[in-house]
């Protein structure tokens, strides 16, 4: 057999359950699973970990080197190991923000060895171990690529209620794009820029080595009333220990065919040696939106007073961790309840987690990670929903734009989801040199979405409507890796790894729709008079094999090369497998040569690597679909032309960067430049519709470039006894461009958004009012070069009857993704008990089509006296005058000395009809105070009276302030977040503003 067997027999395969069996067999053969030998000559190691100024370091990781023993320091910085084999032992302490320290102790049989650690501050953590992107756990100093790491344990005081919020603004190049401000609303994540014009630009997500499904299924779609579901948010952030983010292909090579958009690996908390430590954290808070964020319409005052409410939230989490010499555990349960700022918008989330660690031998560990989450979201109708609260109330007032009295609108949209996640990882140090590891995992995600328009509740469906959509997705993955580490010479060390990865996804869904209830009070599909149903099932498989070789010279030069070969069920019949190579180098210059005193650590790194993005399932096959026609008769119609040559698009990435420590490594600069080229880009080539098949066919024809900088600066700004100020700056830039569409025609993503060579993916194009050389007018007029003949691809124009030409790109407005992001943050330690944190978040360069403003500013959106009188007759207090609905129109048209911007708005407000979409592709730049928190650790004497070890009180705020020139409701929102390419579909449609959140919380340990 050979790899050429990949891709054979596309549609009718036979299932084989080989990966799990084989991995288990390989481990069983080599491990033997003998019980650990009894340790009779043992002693105890105890100690404390403090800063150099004597303050305890809480939560530092302490390990006994060469064993599976590990624990965390307690509130006083203390730790203890019992039953340690007597003799010389090394104890290592690792904590973010401090230099890793190792000390050797002599453990007496039956006695106690004591060790004290005083950790020096270090913003550079070259000795920290990173798992993601390498075949095996590797120290950061050895890695030639840029990998962002987030220490979630350091964010306990931050106002974070979801994984999306945990990632938001935390690392350069990580763009978290929220759908809107409803409770339960999900996000999309784009790392660096858009690497694909046709496939999802979202990263793979692993939780403890198990790949989870983060797709956005269309149940109750956002087009009607739905809320995008973010699978990532099924993970309870309170259970997270750390997150590693691979932002580009150069570091994602070993993840293969689906990793071109990057990889996010989440590690949940583990148990630690010692007695059971209980932790409770609880918070209560409010969500609200100030009037200014809604003040876009003449009806905003009424809407704000009558429809916008103050939301609330509470959450409770109880966890316990502990363990013994060969066993540890972490168990947690949490509950969160939230009510949003619009009526009938709630979210309840319940989650349980049990993580077990077993060390049957000193050279072996077994970890079981499992979690169950249930989230129930009740969706408020907003966005592009003809019966939505926001679009009706802000355009039409109390009676709505369709003369629907908003208080009577009764749409019930429920989205319930349950997720079970389990992974088993076995690590075995076979010899001093050879180790291997296998992870077997599954992610089972069920969704039950239902929507109800009761009988008589909605005027356009007066007899009611009911839909139910259920979906189950099962992911299963098996990862096996074997690593051999040996010294080739005293100075040269070799690390050789090889492994394989298997992934299987099966998805099944069914839907039932019913219309017309016979009378009031019925609520199920089967109670309706007209019903229909649908079902779909699909599966995909991927198998990959990889090898990686690293050669280290002393402890300062590391060169790594790797290769992965993948087969995938979505590849064309003529494509057997895809190869992904990588090579990288890391040079810790400061460990090699003597640098000037002002320089601390200096590391240079460079990498080249590739990763892929597979086509959608069955895109390679020429297919027809079935339907019923002309009165329930069977019918078929063509769906896909098919392409037997279809292969994944491959992103090639070059990355260069350095890490520099200044002031004795108290300040850390991490600078990366990346240059990506996605070749063989999958492009949905439009065939001429006159040839009969309307869906575009994926072909490997395009080329996309992404280039940018990522700069992270963090460190200690100022320190004196009792006061410390740490600050961070994250800056990222991205320049995205379609280099080639392979000769294909431009393709329309939606409305004004196009794929055109020479421009960013999904850029906006259109005529619109602009200011040019001191004049304000339409671009097609002001940019018209009268007297010049149009060149190829240029548009003709006319000014005052004189013909001319418009220059190429005259209609370009901007791209959909940010070109610049900046985060500024600080944390202050005041005394031994008080900390204050804040984080500002800035995004710039992204445009969005504001359907919100298109609707409001359209010339026919005028309030008439009759309209006002109707509302008054119904008892509504509408204190406005006839005229435009949109505030910007009123201000612009009424201004006696209009500003340039007001002149532009005046044109947009006066342009004929709804058709001028170009007027409303608006910049969405903003600044937000993303997080601010104050935390106070109560003196131990007080909690100890109640049997508590420690007690911390926390006051936190999120999104408390924003600054933006965007004139709609919310510059961050994207209402079509339910689509696979939604990261590019930048459209805002009466989405609810993302609310401010203020919480008061306590954390207690006992």
């Amino acid at each position: 057999m050979s790899l050429s067997m990949f891709g054979a027999e596309r549609l009718r395969g036979v299932r084989r359950r080989w990966p799990l069996a084989l991995a288990a067999a390989m481990l069983a053969l080599t491990t033997g699973f003998q019980p650990a030998a009894s340790q009779t000559q043992t002693g105890t190691i105890t100690g404390t970990v403090t800063t150099q100024t004597g303050e305890p370091v809480v939560g530092a990781q302490v390990t006994v080197v060469g064993t599976q023993r590990g624990t965390l320091t307690n509130a006083r910085g203390g730790f203890i190991f019992t039953g340690v084999q007597a003799g010389e032992r090394q104890v290592r302490v690792t904590s973010i923000g401090y230099r890793t320290e190792t000390q050797t102790v002599q453990v007496p049989a039956g006695g106690t060895a004591t060790v004290q650690f005083s950790l020096p501050i270090s913003a550079i953590a070259l000795d920290a171990v990173v798992v993601t992107g390498q075949a095996t756990a590797t120290q950061r100093r050895e890695i030639g690529t840029s990998i962002a790491a987030i220490d979630a344990t350091a964010l306990e005081a931050a106002p974070i209620k979801s994984m999306s919020q945990l990632l938001q603004g935390r690392a350069p190049g990580v763009n978290v794009l929220p759908g809107g401000g409803k409770s339960g609303q999900g996000t999309r994540i784009v790392l660096r820029g858009a690497a694909s014009v046709s496939q999802a630009n979202e990263p793979l997500i692993y939780v403890d080595g198990v790949r989870i499904d983060n797709s956005s299924p269309l149940g109750i779609s956002t087009a009607t009333a739905g809320t995008t579901w973010s699978g990532l948010d099924d993970i309870n952030p309170a259970d997270i220990e750390r997150v590693e983010i691979v932002r580009g292909a150069s570091a994602a090579t070993l993840y293969g065919t689906e990793a071109a958009a990057g990889v996010i690996q989440i590690f949940t908390r583990r148990g630690s040696e010692g007695r059971a430590v209980w932790n409770y954290s609880g918070e209560m808070g409010v969500l609200d939106t100030p009037f200014e964020w809604w003040d876009i319409s003449e009806f905003s005052p009424w809407f704000y007073d009558n429809m916008v409410q103050r939301g609330n939230l509470q959450s409770h989490q109880l966890s316990v961790r502990g363990g013994g010499e060969a066993f540890n555990y972490y168990a947690a349960g949490s509950f969160r309840d939230e009510a949003g700022v619009l009526p009938a918008n709630t979210e309840q989330a319940t989650s349980f987690r049990l993580n077990l660690g077993i060390a049957p031998r000193d050279n072996m560990s077994l970890r079981l990670n499992s979690s169950f989450t249930q989230r129930d979201v009740r969706v408020a109708p907003d966005a592009n929903n003809t019966r939505g609260y926001t679009i009706n109330g802000l355009v039409g007032g109390p009676r709505g734009q369709f003369v629907e009295t908003l208080s009577l609108v009764d749409i019930r949209g429920i989205q319930d989801g349950t997720r079970f996640l389990a992974g088993l990882t076995l690590e075995h140090q076979l010899t001093d040199i050879l180790s291997h590891r296998v992870t077997v995992g599954t992610d089972i995600w069920n969704q039950d979405q239902h929507q109800l328009f009761p009988f008589g509740a909605i005027s356009n469906l007066p007899e009611g409507f009911r839909s139910n959509y259920r979906r189950e997705n099962r992911n299963a993955n098996v990862d096996y890796n074997a690593t051999a580490r040996l010294h080739l010479t005293p100075d040269v060390r070799s690390t050789t790894s090889a492994g394989f990865q298997y992934f299987h996804r099966s998805t099944g869904w069914s839907s039932a729709i019913g219309e017309d209830f016979p009378f009031f009070g019925l609520e199920t599909v089967s109670a309706t008079l007209r019903t229909s149903g649908a079902e779909g099932r699909s599966e995909e498989k991927m198998a990959g094999f990889y090898g990686e070789q690293q050669v280290a010279f002393r402890d300062y030069l590391y060169v790594t090369a790797g290769l992965r070969a993948d087969g995938h069920s979505a590849f064309g019949a003529d494509v057997d497998f895809q190869i992904y190579p990588k090579v990288s180098a890391s040079y810790v210059l400061s460990d090699h040569v003597q640098l000037p005193d002002f320089l601390g650590t200096l590391r240079l790194r460079g990498a080249y690597g590739t990763a892929g993005q597979q086509p959608s399932n069955f895109a390679a096959v020429r297919t027809w679909n079935t339907t019923s026609a002309v009165g329930a008769q069977p019918a078929v119609f063509p769906t896909n032309l098919g392409n037997p040559d279809l292969r994944p698009e491959v992103t090639h990435e070059r990355e260069l960067g350095f890490e520099l420590g200044l002031l004795e490594d108290r300040v850390h600069f991490d600078v990366t430049h990346y240059d990506q080229r996605t070749k063989d880009a999958l492009y949905a080539v439009r065939e001429p519709p006159s040839q009969g098949v309307l869906s575009p066919q994926l072909r490997n024809v395009g080329e996309i470039a992404n280039e940018g900088w990522e700069v992270g600066v963090r460190g200690l700004v100022y320190e004196r006894p009792g006061f410390r100020w740490n600050a961070l700056v994250n800056l990222s830039t991205n320049r995205n461009e379609i280099i080639s569409l392979g000769g294909g025609a431009p393709i329309q993503l939606q409305w004004l958004q196009w794929m055109r060579e020479g421009y960013a993916v999904g850029s906006f194009f259109g005529d619109r009012p602009i200011a040019h050389n001191g004049e304000v007018g339409l671009a097609s007029q002001l940019l018209c070069e009268v007297g010049r003949q149009p060149g190829p691809g240029e548009d003709a124009c006319s000014v005052g009857g004189s013909a001319g030409a418009l220059p190429e790109g005259w209609d370009y407005i901007g791209g959909p993704l940010p070109t610049r992001t900046l985060q500024l943050g600080s944390d202050f330690s005041i005394g031994a008990r008080t900390t204050v944190n804040f984080l500002f978040d800035h995004r710039a360069g992204a445009f969005a089509q504001s359907s919100t403003m298109r609707w409001l500013m359209s010339p026919n959106r005028n309030i008439t006296e009759g309209h006002l009188q109707t509302n008054r007759d119904l008892g509504y207090d509408i204190n406005t005058t006839p005229g435009p609905v949109a505030r910007v129109c009123r201000d612009a048209l009424d201004a006696t000395n209009p500003t340039e911007q007001q002149q532009i708005y005046a044109i947009a407000c006066s342009r004929n009809s709804l058709l001028t979409h170009g007027d409303f592709a608006l910049p969405t730049d903003f600044w937000k105070l993303r997080e601010i928190s104050v935390s106070y650790r109560v003196p131990e004497a007080i909690p100890s009276r109640f049997g508590l070890g420690s007690l911390t009180v926390n006051l936190a705020g999120r999104n408390l302030w924003r600054s933006t020139d965007y004139i709609g409701l919310e510059p961050e929102s994207m209402y079509r977040n339910d689509l696979s390419d939604s990261a590019l579909r930048s459209q805002i449609f009466f989405d609810t503003p993302i609310p401010r959140q203020i919480t008061l919380g306590v954390r207690a340990q006992f």
Partner: protein, 445 residues
């Protein structure tokens, strides 16, 4: 030192052996991996070449035809062409049909793209069905009812394209005049008449005659049109079957013009004057062929555009006529009028009115007879996708162009000069323009 080296070498050897074993094992596993998957919802094209697939193949052509005429792109081409010609006015909030209703048909928005795309797919699938049935049935295809039906729909779909679109492009070819669709339709319908005759299915044979009369009328072949029309009894109707069974089978014209919060209204059109307000509020001429409901409490997407409920179709199950005997009489009437025979022309028109138990109409001269004919065709064929080709051919003919304004107009703020400014055709989509290399140097309108 020697011992340590020995241990290192020994362990290294075992490590290498282990690594090699692991790699070999993994390679073996991967090589034997079967990555085939199943998807029960999809059909490979090769699966269709069996006799049992014939009904589904032909019904597929009927399915795509309904998508084109009444479903996709804001109510299909029957709805948007109604908004273009004055049968309906756009009163909703959706921009693409507003473009068309305003007399400036766009070809870029996804909705307006779909008009060309779906209509082209309907033609392609009907013609592809003919090819598939020829392969599957062999000689039996020449007397197959299913083949006759496929050819009839090939005729209807070509007629639809010729009626509605400004130019023609076929199978990714070059730009051609829209009349090539009529030529192509005529060939299919001639063949449909033969096959339906051989199959002994009179309803299909007569339908093919009626459709060919429509095509020949558009080609200006009045003698041929009248000859074909003569084969069709006045009471004959061939319909696109509509069903509430599923969304894609339903009457989309009803959904878009008669449901609350619909997009199209008879308001401000001549049909609101000629027809019947079933609410009894408005004083109209009372023709029952254009019924509607006036309801003041319901607005459209634009607050100042009232939403009248068109009531020609009152449910998703209401079929839409594709060819009728009554239209055949009006074709005969128009041919007579073009020959200067006013009296016989009015008599033919009255045959249609008699069929509906309406009082006879009269015309004192040719001008009045033309006005009557144009109005009668409008009322008789209201919301059946016939108004656009009617206005198109009348506008293209110097003898009839000036007469259009007497029967096609808009009221109030949505008024627009109909025959001067309206192109009377929908535009080939930018999808076709950008993807078809044969159009690079010869762009459609």
């Amino acid at each position: 030192m020697r011992k340590q080296l020995w241990i290192r070498a020994g362990v290294a050897g075992r490590a290498r052996a282990g690594a090699i074993a692991a790699i070999a094992g993994a390679s073996l596993v991967l090589a034997s991996c079967d990555l085939g998957v199943t998807n029960p919802a999809l059909i490979e094209e090769s699966d269709l070449f069996v006799p049992g697939a014939v009904p589904a193949i032909v019904n597929g052509a009927r399915y795509t035809f309904n998508n084109a005429i009444s479903q996709t792109g804001a109510g299909g081409v029957f709805s948007v062409s109604a908004a273009l010609t004055d049968e309906l006015t756009h009163v909703g909030s959706w921009a693409p049909p507003r473009e068309i209703s305003d007399g400036t048909p766009g070809n870029e928005s996804p909705e307006n793209q779909s008009h060309w795309g779906q209509s082209s797919r309907a033609r392609w699938q009907a013609e592809d069905a003919i090819d598939k049935l020829t392969t599957i049935l062999g000689d039996a295809a020449n007397s197959s009812e299913w083949m006759a039906l496929a050819k009839l729909y090939a005729g209807f779909s070509n007629r639809l394209l010729g009626d509605m679109f400004c130019e023609a492009v076929i199978d990714g070819g070059e730009l051609q005049p829209h009349t090539v669709f009529f030529q192509r339709g005529e060939e299919h319908l001639t063949s449909a008449i033969q096959v339906a005759g051989a199959a002994g299915v009179d309803s299909l044979r007569i339908a093919a005659y009626a459709a060919r009369a429509q095509v020949r009328m558009m080609m200006g072949d009045w003698a041929g049109a009248v000859a074909d029309a003569g084969q069709v009894p006045t009471g004959f109707r061939y319909v696109q079957i509509m069903s509430d069974n599923s969304g894609s089978e339903a009457n989309g014209v009803f959904e878009w013009s008669a449901l609350i919060a619909g997009q199209y209204s008879p308001w401000a059109t001549p049909f609101a004057e000629w027809g019947t307000d079933l609410s009894g509020t408005l004083d109209t001429e009372g023709d029952p062929r254009a019924p509607f409901l006036f309801r003041t409490e319901i607005g459209g997407g634009s607050p100042d555009r009232p939403f009248y409920f068109a009531q020609k179709y009152t449910s998703r199950n209401d079929d839409i006529a594709l060819a009728k005997g009554t239209e055949m009489r009006l074709i005969e009437a128009e041919a007579l009028l073009r020959g200067g025979n006013v009296g016989d022309a009015v008599a033919k028109i009255n045959e249609v009115r008699d069929h509906h138990d309406l009082d006879d109409a009269s015309a004192a001269n040719a001008d009045e007879a033309w006005e009557l004919l144009m109005k009668e065709r409008g009322l008789e064929l209201w919301l059946e996708g016939r108004r656009l080709p009617d206005l198109r051919r009348w506008a293209a003919d110097a003898n009839t162009r000036a007469r259009i304004n007497t029967t096609a107009w808009r009221l109030g703020e949505v008024a627009r000069p109909v025959y001067e400014a309206t192109p009377f055709c929908l535009r080939i989509s930018t999808d076709e323009i950008f993807s078809n290399p044969n159009l690079t140097n010869n762009l459609p309108t």
